[in-house]
Symmetry: C2
Subunit: 450 residues, 2 copies
């Protein structure tokens, strides 16, 4: 029932396309789920993709279009006339249509919208384009089912039947008053089993009615839907009027994007990239952190050069420089990761900072002790007892400092409304490098009595 | 409409609990959404939590119980009699009930199940306990709506009305044949607008029918539901019989857990922890990576000690050790992060390894060039021209190697079915440290003619 794209299938398909074997394609590709067809089109060369796409029926075409990778879709649409693009838009849900229009070259937008035949569809798209992409307004769709408070069930069924043609997935029916203000909701289940003459006012629910505002941030929408286990949420304007709804599939994308962004940020990539992004974009996304790393390295060089005399006296001091910096970095990143996550989940507001710090300090002390004893034992094998003492003593100190900074910095950033995910990765590593070098070399100078 | 837990509200509530001001609590807490009540209970002291919980009505109690943090729930349940726990279970969906039973102390499980009054509910829980937690069977619930292929719409409505009492959220009605095998589905919308005497066989759909098997991995279920934009998916056994369904809210949890795990792994934490985990568990989760880091540091010390003579001749060589190791680590982590993500998304199977490598090498060459020129200019200020040449030349080489390893290692791990997320974080950093030191010091010895 589920399709797996194999290398063999892919090569057979490429053959079929080059020999224009329409029968094979119809039987083996066109019958697949649109998400699977899109995954295939993503992998094809541009002219193959365009050929295959035109073999699909109209309904499938739009569904596949939505599922494509952004850059594949962009290239595919370039092979379309403006009229054809307008035709595709009419088959899409309003939110997908608006997203697609937003991706078009600016000079094409007006023309495409002018060519949409259904005036209502055109109006919906124009309306949705007003909202910023990362807000509830930018995520919502105009397709939803609503009934009026004063209607009886019988009339609802008639009205909903009309609305149902436009709405692909129905989860909840929203109930509005005579000013179009959202007052409650009604599950399809409840409607299905109600008597025809019951009034909606006697049937609808308003306890636990959760809605979002058009201007709400997309991540807040995702948190709200996740927290309240919602599969769809109504969107209201500033007057409380119902203007759209957001469904869970869009929210899953936001959650995944956010996780990707955090992961990349922790890995020192400062702007969202994909493996398909251009070389220049990838380079640009990585440079900020590398520059910070370079700066940290230069500061580190400055610190060590301050101890040049000590190193020329005891060159063995240089041996453990990478160990000290690496361990400081690792511990710092570990501590900050936990704090960043609990901040992202939003469950760190009431827990006190002191409690967190105390716990991280305990963990650091425990790990620091074990690691220091280990390194002391090992250095005894190939160094002097004093060197062992210097390394293990500084290692312990560096671990303690790294844990404390790793915990505090994200909390401070969060307090000043800066994304705490910035704190993990190169930033903490760099700070701990410089600090660790200073601690290590100072202890070295003291114990070696230089 | 949405509740925000403020410090002020929390303190007022604590006062109300200590003065047993039931009226205030009823008005201000019991009317909230269960998810909000759970967030409050999570923050309370144990005796306060227990007091507040018992003021809730039975329905709210179970809903709150499901939403609590695992450790808070565990402590709360300890204040319950076995009989009371059994009572709570009957109000829960079967999947939540089974999860809760699985959390109980093993010696209590049998007794609790024996005390459940509804034999069907007990049977469902016992059945669900058979499946491993991280499989489709372990995620599914027994509450779903199903109709038989040969029924007319009229009978369906009657049967579904009975089933609807048990099923909180209805998304799709599943259609089975006379052997209980899943053959298709029917949307509630379609049923609502059908004539009473239409046969289900003429109404149901089976194109794009996606299902999962009880033994499927939870992450695969999440990927499937995400790919096909499903809000619920039916679960079948090996014979194709319909045995349960999985809803999107459980899948969102899997996606978030997976993202958390990846983020922690990239940060060098090897077992899933939360900020509420114990000090020992946190320490244990971090030790493996720290030990690898320590080992790397010792290897690094070995490498440098091989160049002891060179460093005693030109101590300035030691200055840039942290710069070289840090930059190698940063570049390696950046490259691997992109590969790990595209592997996790499952869209890296057909793209060729060589194409990826070439691109990463281009990005690395571009960044390496810019950084090397920068560092050459800077070292001229406070070092000799030869030192500048050594540092910039090695920096470029190290960046190239780090990018290549960062790309290749996760791909190789993935090929051997090892989680490629292991490759980001300390593992790559450590490897690049050792390699970078060797390259840097070798180039230094050569150019300084030592």
């Amino acid at each position: 029932m589920r399709f797996e794209l194999t290398k063999e299938f892919f090569e057979t398909l490429q053959d079929a396309i080059s020999t224009e074997n329409v029968a094979w394609i119809n039987e083996n590709v066109c019958e697949l789920h649109e998400a699977d067809i899109a995954a295939i089109v993503d992998e094809l060369e541009d002219d193959e993709a365009s050929y295959l796409y035109r073999l699909l029926d109209e309904e499938s075409q739009s569904d596949v279009l939505v599922e494509l990778d952004e850059d594949v879709r962009e290239r595919l649409l370039k092979t379309f006339s403006t009229k054809e693009i307008a035709g595709q838009l009419e088959n899409l849900d309003s939110d997908d249509a608006a997203d697609l229009v937003a991706e078009l070259p600016p000079d094409q937008v007006e023309e495409v919208i002018g060519l949409i035949e259904d005036p209502e569809a055109a109006e919906e798209i124009v309306d949705l384009l007003n909202y910023a992409e990362d807000t509830a307004g930018g995520m919502m769709q105009k397709e939803f089912m609503k009934v009026h408070l004063e209607w009886p069930v019988k009339r609802c069924v008639v009205e909903l039947r009309k609305q149902a043609e436009e709405v692909e997935k129905v989860f909840t029916i929203y109930v509005v008053d005579d000013q179009e203000k959202l007052v409650g909701f009604l599950s399809l289940k409840r409607l299905l089993f109600a008597r025809p003459d019951t009034a909606i006012a006697d049937l609808y629910q308003n306890k636990n009615m959760i809605s979002v505002k058009t201007g709400d941030d997309d991540e807040d929408v995702a948190k709200t839907m996740d927290k309240y286990d919602l599969v769809s949420v109504p969107v209201v304007d500033l007057q409380g009027k119902l203007v759209g709804r957001i469904t869970i599939d869009d929210v899953v994308d936001v959650i995944k994007d956010e996780a990707d962004k955090d992961f990349q940020m922790a890995s020192g990539i400062s702007e969202k990239v994909e493996s398909s992004s251009s070389v220049f974009r990838m380079s640009r996304a990585r440079m900020p952190w590398l520059m910070i790393g370079l700066l940290g390295g230069i500061l580190g060089a400055q610190v060590i050069s301050g101890f040049e005399y000590g190193i020329s006296e005891v060159p063995a001091l240089a041996f453990f420089i990478p160990l000290i910096t690496a361990m400081g970095g690792n511990v710092g990143v570990q501590s900050s990761a936990i704090v960043v996550q609990s901040l992202a989940r939003g469950n760190a507001h009431l827990g006190s900072t002191m409690k967190k710090l105390k716990k991280e300090a305990l963990v650091a002390a425990l790990n620091g002790l074990m690691l220091s004893v280990t390194i002391y034992a090992i250095t005894l094998i190939f160094g002097t007892p004093i060197l062992g003492l210097v390394v293990s003593l500084s290692l312990f100190t560096v671990i303690m400092f790294a844990a404390i900074f790793g915990t505090l910095i994200p909390l401070v950033l969060d307090k000043y409304k800066i994304d705490p995910a910035l704190a993990t990765g190169p930033f903490i590593t760099t700070l701990n490098d410089v600090l660790g070098l200073f601690i290590y070399l100072t202890i070295g100078m003291l114990l070696f009595n230089i």
